[in-house]
Every structure is written in structure tokens, then in C-alpha cells.
Symmetry: C2
Subunit: 168 residues, 2 copies
């Protein structure tokens, strides 16, 4: 991973943090993974930087957000991440949205919408449900176009490779 959390403690805008998350998503793409990146910032300091590793690890839970939450908890020595902000390039799925509740993450910024599996606005609105013991603040659409283009380009390449294989 090119990003070193120890060197990332400067004040940044949500767009600047999202640009870092985008660079992680690009690393995922270079491994053949769906390009999604996530960061966790705790009291202004970057404490976790991760990308989707579902195929590499053959693990259905290895989404970028999940790995960032696990990394941050390990680093901070506890599973309650109340003062933290999560940045992720794609709208979280139900698993990741639920994990954000479990970890008591204070704020979430995400990039592109996920019309197929997004659980914050697209397929369902998990945080509109009454009865959870925690509700993060959520802002979507940060560098949405760039985050979305990275995903579209990745899937276009996958389809192109599949077509080439069929045509050979």
C-alpha cells in the first residue's frame, strides 16, 4: 500500500481524503479487484487505508470498508470508533453499512452511488430505519463522477477481456 498512515495527519477536505481513497481503489483495480477504496480518519489522523480484496482473499467480507474498520480497531486498540470518519469511493452495501453502525463510526463520506447494492440511498436506506443504537452522519457524492468512472472503466475492461476470450 503506497499510503503511509503515519505520515497522513494533516487537515484535509473531504475531497482530498476521497482522492486518497480513489488512489487505493486504483490499486485494487491493478490486482483485478473491483476498484473500491476506503480510509478511516480518527481525530484528523489517517488510521486505516484499505481496498477491496474479495477475490484475492476469496472472502465475501473483504470489502474496503470492512478492512478499514478492522485495521483501525486493531490500530486504536478498541472496536468503538465514535470519533472517526470513514471515506469510501462507493456507497456502502448492507454489510458495510451495518459494520459502520457496529463500530459507531461518527461520519461517512462516500463517492458514487451503488444502484445495485447500496444500502444508504439506492436499494435501501438503512439509516432511516428507527431503532438502531447509533446513527452516523452521511454525505454522498464526494468526487462521485471520478469514483463512478473508475468502476465503469474496470467493468468495461472485464467485459472486453471476456469477449476476447470468447472470440479466440
Amino acid at each position: 500500500m503506497k499510503i503511509n498512515p503515519d505520515k497522513e495527519c494533516v487537515e484535509r477536505s473531504p475531497e482530498a481524503w476521497m482522492r486518497l481513497a480513489l488512489s487505493l481503489a486504483e490499486e485494487a483495480a491493478s490486482l483485478g479487484e473491483v476498484p473500491i477504496g476506503a480510509l478511516l480518519v480518527y481525530n484528523g489522523q489517517l488510521v486505516a487505508a484499505a481496498y477491496n480484496l474479495r477475490e484475492t482473499w476469496r472472502d465475501p467480507t473483504a470489502h474496503a470498508e470492512m478492512l478499514a474498520l478492522r485495521q483501525a480497531s486493531l490500530r486504536l486498540g478498541g472496536w468503538r470508533l465514535s470519533a472517526s470518519t470513514l471515506y469510501v469511493t462507493l456507497e456502502p452495501c448492507a454489510m458495510c453499512a451495518g459494520a459502520i453502525l457496529q463500530a459507531r463510526v461518527g461520519q461517512v463520506y462516500y463517492g458514487a452511488q451503488d444502484t445495485k447494492a447500496g444500502a444508504l440511498e439506492s436499494v435501501c436506506q438503512l439509516y432511516q430505519v428507527k431503532g438502531w443504537n447509533h446513527y452516523p452522519q452521511v454525505t454522498g457524492g464526494i468526487l462521485a463522477e471520478e469514483c463512478g468512472i473508475l468502476l465503469k472503466d474496470f467493468f468495461a475492461q472485464v467485459r472486453s477481456r471476456q469477449k476476447t476470450r470468447r472470440d479466440v
Copy 2:
């Protein structure tokens, strides 16, 4: 862990599998963890046996179901667990319910309801939402009373210890 997946490939009823999950939940309690156990059965064979380790690992994602899914994927060499059945002593939370969708688990049996965080019937009904790419079959209430009593006893002991500490 006392259960050896390699020796568990006999035909069992949902109640018999749940009894194994309950024994895992008891192991969790002995570590001071909220007693929840989970099993994953693939083509009739036990491939994963786990219990909640959130406090021990200081990891917000270390619920019994999540660990069972990760263990099963590692064992089976892939993240798609379509032919599998998950047994868990407590109604899954949103994170675990979402992970079950991610892993394409075919069937879920759970024990007690979780009125505070359950995402299948109690706080929300995640699988009633239209638009997911997968819907597991779900049956709740398997050994519900025993699964619930184990949790109630655990929390009663925690409160009793806290009271003793305050009174000393």
C-alpha cells in the same frame, strides 16, 4: 474450539445443528464474550464453527456469523457459498445479514430474536427489501428459548459483577 469440522458430516436436524451452535456460544461466554455461536454447513458437512470474538479481538466485525463465513470461504476456496446453510443462535444484525447476502448463503436458521439490533425481523426486515441480487431462505426460533436464556444469564452475570464492583 471443541468442534472438529472434519468429524461433523452426519445428517442432522436444524435443532441438532443449533445445539452445536449453542455449545459454541457457551465457549464465547467462558471468554467473557456475548454468547453467540454460528455454524456453516455446506452440502450437509460442517465447514465452519465460530463464536463472537468482538472483545477478545477488539474488532467490531468479529461477530460469530462473520467469522463463520470467513472460515467457510477460506476452507472452500471461494466467497460464493450458495449451497450452504448458516445456523446462528441470535437473529443476525444488519452487518451479518448483509454479509449473508454477499456470500449468497442459501439458508439461514437462527435461534432467539434480537430486539435491539436484529435485521431480519426485529429492528428491520432486510430481506423484505426489493432489489437485492440474492435472497436466502430464513427460519427463526430454532431453540429460541435456550439461545435467549444463555444471553440473559450472561448479561445478568455482567450486571451482578458491575454491582459488586460498585459496592466494594
